[in-house]
């Protein structure tokens, strides 16, 4: 895949330790699709969700990072961000009783995508991207109200993880938008010979995916 390259500063991150600064002198080119998808996702975070305002959404992200939540959704966000393997059905139910399933699904989406950005920056040796300023727009109300909660913790359609947040369609779309730059597109996933040029191939990508999931005790 031919990707445009760009200076690390376009990620709006900062080199925060000496080891990463040494890398900067060698590279500093990072393919632009990663910075673009993280930037776009932070704009989504700042904007209205289906039921949560931009301010509430950014506050959830702040609670996740700080580990110092002030309300039930913040407690859930912090728990999911800091220690996902210990999140149980009761934790999700508690948050849903307080705020409703759409709010919980928005929270899962915000926290999960924030962790993608934060861990990327951490591995690269960058400071975390600053949280955005929220917008004032009203929530959209776009919730798939006909979905049922079956064996999962939240209502969702049948299917694999990429549709797990589709109770709130905008969260599902934001999740799926991350895959291409941060892993593989759907088409690329179906090709065992895929190799990002230059970069990793499918077995190498899956090695990382499997090892992280094993250590995080994530069965799926």
């Amino acid at each position: 895949m031919d990707t445009e390259k760009h200076d690390a500063w376009d990620l709006h991150c900062h080199i925060n330790d000496a080891s990463a600064a040494e890398y900067r002198s060698d590279m500093p080119e990072i393919r632009t699709d990663i910075g673009a998808v993280i930037g776009a996702d932070f704009e989504i975070m700042a904007g209205p969700g289906a039921v949560l305002t931009g301010s509430e959404r950014v506050a959830i992200a702040a609670s996740a990072r700080s580990g110092n939540p002030s309300d039930t959704l913040g407690v859930f966000a912090s728990h999911l961000y800091q220690s996902p393997a210990t999140v149980a059905a009761d934790d999700v139910s508690r948050a849903a009783r307080a705020s409703g399933f759409p709010s919980v699904v928005e929270t899962i989406g915000i926290v999960a995508r924030l962790s993608a950005a934060d861990r990327f920056c951490e591995v690269m040796g960058f400071d975390p991207k600053p949280l955005p300023d929220p917008t004032d727009d009203a929530p959209t109300g776009n919730v798939q109200n006909d979905l049922k909660k079956r064996r999962a913790h939240v209502p969702m359609p049948p299917g694999p993880i990429p549709v797990a947040l589709d109770l709130v369609p905008s969260e599902g779309e934001a999740l799926r938008a991350m895959f291409g730059p941060m892993y593989m597109t759907e088409d690329e996933m179906s090709d065992p010979h895929f190799r990002r040029t230059p970069g990793l191939d499918t077995p190498q990508l899956e090695t990382i995916a499997a090892r992280i999931s094993l250590i995080n005790e994530c069965f799926y």
């Binding site: 080891s19 890398y23 590279m27 393919r31 990663i34 996902p84 393997a85 999140v87 059905a89 919980v104 699904v105 899962i108 989406g109 999960a112 995508r113 962790s115 993608a116 934060d118 861990r119 990327f120 951490e122 591995v123 690269m124 999962a152 913790h153 939240v154 969702m156 993880i161 797990a164 947040l165 999740l175 991350m178 895959f179 730059p181 941060m182 892993y183 065992p192 230059p198 970069g199 990793l200 191939d201 499918t202 077995p203 190498q204 990508l205 899956e206 090695t207 990382i208 995916a209 499997a210 090892r211 992280i212 999931s213 094993l214 250590i215 995080n216 005790e217 994530c218 069965f219 799926y220």
Partner: protein, 118 residues
């Protein structure tokens, strides 16, 4: 873990690698993936707070800088996906587990399944 171990096995077979999935649970065992030891080392260094600088250098030296950037991105992606799975509680189809019984035993996945009561 389950779906990605399957995909690793599938893609490795297509590329004629000698994949040994035990290398996912025991880093001293050769996984059979080029640079696999360094990639596992990178994950371990950041998930368990190990020698992060050494792990970065090892991946860059073995696979190149662009591969290191890819690794960081995939790391982020799966930290995200793990939280989606845990937060949503998405279930695993039982028939899928039954079909992959040998892999489940090799990777100790029955223990994880049981502990999470999926």
């Amino acid at each position: 873990m389950f779906s990605h171990a399957r995909r690793l096995s599938w893609s490795g077979e297509k590329l004629e690698h000698q994949i040994n999935l035990k290398g996912l649970t025991d880093p001293s065992i050769d996984l059979g993936v080029p640079g696999g030891r360094e990639l596992v080392g990178l994950v371990d260094a950041f998930v368990t707070d190990g020698d992060q600088e050494g792990a970065r250098e090892a991946v860059i030296d073995m696979l190149g800088f662009e591969a290191f950037v890819d690794s960081a991105a995939v790391f982020g992606n799966f930290e995200m996906m793990n939280r989606i799975a845990e937060g949503s509680g998405i279930p695993i189809p039982p028939q899928l587990v039954e079909r992959e019984d040998q892999m489940m035993k090799t990777l100790g996945l029955y223990d994880i399944l049981k502990s999470q009561q999926l």
